[in-house]
Point group: C2
């Protein structure tokens, strides 16, 4: 059973973000996203719901949410493109494993982040706030194939 948590909109409100219709649409669509969306994909979905919404607004909103730590920006190892992808910052940190052969993205979660955060802080005094932990390699299925594509 999924953990009940605050919606993105609630968290935006808590951060004092002025709630416009455009932002509501973008936030809802991020909540419902079934895959990693880049800015253009967000724009396309947003236009579907409110055709007046402008690309620049999408960029501005994503940047804002990123700065507030509500959304994380991913590169997914730039496998498919140079674009950035966005996801709501999850309650449990996960890492992104991108299979460079088939493109699948695995997202194991676990105490990676807590462990790393503690370790980094203990060893360097640095206080991590956000992290991007991505790996490229081969998923189990692709690894067993011997072609070197």
């Amino acid at each position: 059973m999924p953990v009940a948590r605050e919606t993105l909109i609630e968290r935006m409100r808590a951060k004092g973000v002025r709630l416009t219709e455009q932002r509501r649409v973008i936030a809802e669509l991020l909540e419902e996203a079934d895959e990693h969306l880049d800015a253009e994909a967000v724009y396309r979905r947003a236009s579907g719901r409110d055709p007046r919404i402008h690309r620049a607004t999408v960029y501005r909103t994503l940047n804002r949410l990123k700065k507030l730590g509500l959304v994380d920006e991913l590169d997914l190892m730039h496998k498919e493109s140079e674009r950035h992808y966005y996801e709501i910052r999850p309650s449990v940190f996960h890492i992104h494993l991108v299979c460079m052969r088939c493109g699948r993205v695995l997202e194991p979660s676990g105490p990676f982040w807590d462990d790393l955060k503690r370790r980094v802080h203990d060893e360097t005094g640095f206080r991590p706030e956000a992290a991007r932990l991505e790996m490229g390699g081969r998923c189990a299925a692709c690894h067993s194939k011997s072609d070197d594509r």
Copy 2:
């Protein structure tokens, strides 16, 4: 005493990369780099040594080296810009900690990578080949300052 290792040029030769003057210049300059260089910075330095060198050649070479796994591409949390930064792939993996206040970049090395690689593989079957592990946060010095810049 630093560990003696192959130069980038030697490694390029070993990979069968055709050694042009341009590539030699770029490789040397990456070896000597004292900070993280983006493509434009590489281009500027390269032009200094051989004014005929073209920006496109710099991009092509960096991409090539990246694909061969000789050079790693970093974002440094996109703090300063959307550019990519390049560094020769070190013999000992390190992570990049970017202070979002003062911009300093710390690069602690340690068994992070080996530990993570093993753990990821054990838990998921994924075989990591390359990783980008960047964190944004506050360095020890900036953390002790209470302004919330």
